[in-house]
Amino acid sequence: MILAKVLGNVVATQKNHRYENARVMLCESINPEGEGTGNTVLALDAVDAGVGDTVLIVQEGWSASTTATGKAGAAIDSAIIGVVDRIDLLKDAT
């Protein structure tokens, strides 16, 4: 799983049918300190995340399509599966 910040979302009318009723969120991956890494990814929302939230994104197909659509076997490779409340780091560990 990766840590990311939700930046916004993407609207697509023409898409694979398994994406219907799903929200495609635009996210930027972050490091544990909360700084953006500059890498932008898309993920389906499975937890009602909103813009500005720090989230956990799973980047594995079975988990992503099961959590986001309720069924496996969709062409979905990433989903937001948690909203992060806080991250505690051991000081000077990195």
């Binding site: 495609v24 635009l26 932008t40 197909g61 399509s65 062409a75």
Partner: protein, 91 residues
């Protein structure tokens, strides 16, 4: 999944049978400002995309799931077309 711009097409006459009649497109992944991010890739189309369009693609084994034959050899498939550049909202 990543946002990408379709920047070209690929023609291959000799290819795996399950790729017959499939459109191969060159896609350049984009970041949140719709600027290029990383190297261009070749993707199989499952959404009816064309050159110049803003799309999103799926990676890995799941990329072959839109096709009837699950043995379709692809690790990058276009699964949606973004309505327009303005439909990428961000703060």
């Amino acid at each position: 999944m990543q946002l990408a711009r379709v920047i070209g097409t690929v023609v291959a006459t000799v290819k795996n049978d399950s790729l017959k009649n499939r459109k191969l497109l060159v896609v350049q992944s984009l970041n949140k400002d719709l600027a290029p991010q990383g190297k261009p890739l070749v993707a199989v189309d499952a959404a009816g995309a064309g050159v110049g369009e803003l799309v999103f693609w799926c990676r890995g084994k799941e990329a072959s799931f839109p096709f009837k034959r699950e043995d379709t050899p692809t690790d990058c498939t276009i699964v949606g077309i973004v309505d327009s550049d303005a439909h990428v909202s961000r703060q």
